[in-house]
């Protein structure tokens, strides 16, 4: 049996050293990392950061993933005795509340965190509609609000100064897919011009996706949109819509859908005998659950574009560091983009505080606005460009489901871990 005593001794020494630095006058030391739901006034040696996440309700699964990312970032910072603020190490403490996936609750809890719990900074919740409501409270109270859960450009077009977003806009998602399609078209693998059947959910996400595809088609003149229809969420029957797609005989089938609609639509797509040269459901496609629900064969060659993939660890040192940390903490489980964005959101705030050398809100806001750091995101750099309302514009990674069950990154070229296939070979069978 291995002897762990020296390791335990060193850990105890490290913890004791941190305690001495953070609590020189014997005041109670904060929890090392982890989420706390208890409110307490911050001591002079710690930074109190508030956040809400949808830990129950319809978004509870994703909310749990973001929580893992936040916890990992806080734990990592506190294991190093806290973050450096003007030459002094300060512990970071998270006050995390459950917004129950409800927009009104997210906004009211943000107000509580700022005005009752007296947090100094805010991390965002998940899902565009919740971030949209919560960011108003942050702006009104002039508190830095960094979020990795709101992608709609509408959030960042309001001229807000205190709101920073790590999720790149959905137009870029569509553009990333179209860029890859363009490459295949230039290589002579797809017709020129190519026709597109475009279906999009009737949400801000879907509208942004549509904008990305149509603007690309208009710009390049190499594509013609022959079907352009939206649909309501949680549809029971897409056969009429898919009938239009079938009648149009389009080369590309591009849809933007949430997971349940993706599964329902793809099930009917396969049943109707449809096969397009290129097929995508926007951010959906590579999920294990979809392959289990539909059968591996029925999701082959589907393209998807996401904000982050664990496969980036092969090319990006920051991503590798995160994946290693995550696996060490969570028993070897591989992270998804939700945890990565949660982790990076907290890390961006910590870095800005360190760069400001102070916990002054105004100074931290200025540092966030000017932030430029190596990142685990695709492209390897994190910034909040003012021209995009302080929403990052990191590229998306495009993945394609292969018959062997893997989904390598096929674009952008600097992140690619495999080569994509077009047109879909199954259509020829």
């Amino acid at each position: 049996m291995p002897n762990y005593r020296p390791v335990l001794f060193l850990c105890a020494l490290a913890v004791a050293a941190c305690k001495q630095q953070s609590s020189p006058n014997g005041a109670g030391a904060p929890q090392a990392g982890g989420a706390s739901t208890q409110a307490a006034a911050p001591s002079g040696n710690e930074i109190l950061i508030g956040a809400t996440l949808p830990l129950t309700g319809s978004e509870s699964r994703t909310g749990g993933f973001y929580k893992e990312g936040y916890e990992l970032a806080f734990e990592e910072a506190n294991q190093k005795c806290g973050i450096d603020v003007g030459g002094k190490k300060m512990q970071v403490r998270l006050t995390l509340l459950d917004d129950t996936s409800a927009q009104a609750t997210a906004a009211s809890l943000a107000d509580r965190l700022i005005n009752s719990d007296k947090v100094q900074f805010l991390l965002g919740t998940y899902a565009t509609n919740l971030v949209e409501a919560q960011s108003v409270v942050a702006e009104q109270n002039a508190i830095p609000y960094v979020n990795g859960g709101g992608a709609a450009t509408a959030i960042y077009k309001r001229g807000y100064k205190w709101v920073f977003g790590l999720l790149a806009p959905v137009e870029l998602l569509a553009e990333s897919i179209m860029k890859w399609v363009d490459t295949e078209q230039q290589a002579g693998k797809l017709p020129k011009p190519a026709t597109i059947a475009l279906l999009w959910e009737n949400t801000s996400h879907g509208k942004d996706f549509r904008k990305g595809v149509t603007e690309w088609a208009d710009k390049t003149k190499n594509y013609k949109v022959v079907v352009d229809e939206s649909f309501e969420l949680a549809g029971k029957d897409f056969s009429a819509l898919l009938g239009q797609v079938k009648a149009a005989k389009a080369d590309l089938f591009l849809a933007d859908a949430h997971l349940p609609d993706y599964i329902t639509m793809q099930r009917q797509y396969v049943t109707a005998g449809l096969c397009n040269k290129v097929q995508s459901y926007g951010a959906r496609g590579a999920e294990k659950q979809a392959a289990e629900s539909l059968g591996k064969k029925n999701v082959e060659y589907i393209l998807s574009a996401v904000w982050w993939s664990a496969l980036l660890a092969e090319k990006n040192p920051e991503a590798k560091k995160f994946v290693d940390l995550f696996k060490a903490k969570y028993g070897g489980r591989s992270p998804e983009w939700y945890q990565a964005l949660g982790y990076e959101t907290a890390r961006a705030l910590f870095t800005a505080i360190t760069q400001a050398g102070s916990t002054d809100r105004e100074q931290v806001k200025q540092k966030l606005a000017a932030l430029k750091i190596p990142s685990l995101l695709p492209g390897g750099e994190l910034t909040f460009p003012a021209e995009f309302g302080q929403q990052t514009h990191a590229p998306f990674v495009v993945q394609q489901n292969l018959p062997d069950g893997t989904a390598p990154i096929v674009a952008p070229p600097d992140s690619a871990t495999g080569k994509g296939t077009a047109p879909n070979p199954n259509c020829a069978k």
Partner: protein
């Protein structure tokens, strides 16, 4: 022409699902004069019950229809005997029943969140993506099966209500509960059985819905709305009217895509509902007593 046939088949198959979802709501309203807001919760529970039997016990969803409906029946009886029975009858009871049953739905939904999380689940069967080729038109086996079950349920309800003593008693209670008491029909027992039957039908509908689309604890909300539209269109308390209304709603929704943007087709049913309420408040087929 081929497109027309495809749309027609899609509408007929969709009507099967809509009718199955609405039978239970219509039956309970027709007899107890209660709008069962917990209908959505039972639909969700039926979906999870079928999913659990399929994933844990390996039972085909269509084979588990009977045990799921039986469990729904027992649950409905329990809800009636423990909660609904205590409500006052008449207008005051109507408002209270809405609040009570809405509360039960919220409890069921939160229990589901605790037990299964908010993850979307799917029922995957070997025939989930299979289709029958009928003269070049592909028809989903799964949707065809759901339609078949909807027809069976319609036939079962028709026979039950017209050929059995229980059915006649249910219709009598729906017509005049006070007179039924005078002639010795156990009204309270009929109420309990009807509530159980309506709940069983909702649970079966949830299972059939889950065979077609993914579901989560929030499943059942839009299904309740659709059921409500179908029941009002068909005329409250009319089983045959419910089936015909489901067909009309599905036809209108599916064919609307020829003249309207796709995202508006879901709203067409609600426009139809408003028109019917204004022009024919008793429903397209008039108010009947479960005939």
């Amino acid at each position: 022409m081929e497109r027309f046939v495809e749309l027609l088949i899609a509408a007929i198959l969709l009507a099967g699902l809509y009718a199955t979802m609405a039978y239970g709501l219509g039956l309970i309203y027709g007899v107890l004069r209660i709008v069962n807001l917990n209908h959505g919760g039972i639909i969700m529970a039926g979906a999870y019950a079928g999913w659990w039997m399929h994933s844990q016990l390996g039972i085909d969803p269509y084979l588990s229809l009977v045990p799921v409906a039986a469990a729904g029946f027992v649950l409905g009886m329990v809800i009636y005997l423990l909660l609904v029975k205590r409500l006052p009858r008449g207008a005051a009871g109507g408002v209270q029943s809405l609040l009570l049953l809405f509360g039960v739905w919220l409890v069921l939904r939160n229990v589901a969140y605790l037990m299964f999380s908010g993850n979307d689940q799917t029922l995957r069967t070997s025939y989930a993506t299979r289709a029958l080729d009928v003269h070049g038109v592909l028809i989903s086996v799964n949707r065809l099966a759901v339609f078949g079950v909807a027809l069976l349920i319609l036939a079962f309800l028709h026979l039950l209500l017209t050929r059995t003593y229980l059915g006649k008693a249910i219709r009598a209670v729906a017509q005049n509960p006070d007179s039924c008491t005078l002639v010795g029909i156990p009204v309270e027992r009929i109420y309990a059985l009807t509530f159980g039957l309506g709940t069983a039908l909702a649970a079966a509908a949830g299972l059939l819905g889950a065979a077609l689309v993914p579901f989560s604890p929030s499943f059942g909300a839009s299904e309740l709305l659709k059921s409500f539209v179908v029941v009002v269109l068909g005329g409250l308390g009319s089983v045959a009217g419910t089936a015909l209304a489901a067909l009309i709603l599905a036809l209108v929704e599916v064919f609307a895509i020829l003249v309207l943007p796709a995202y508006l087709t879901a709203a067409v049913g609600f426009v139809l509902l408003v028109l019917v309420l204004v022009l024919r408040p008793g429903g397209l087929f008039g108010q009947r007593v479960l005939g």
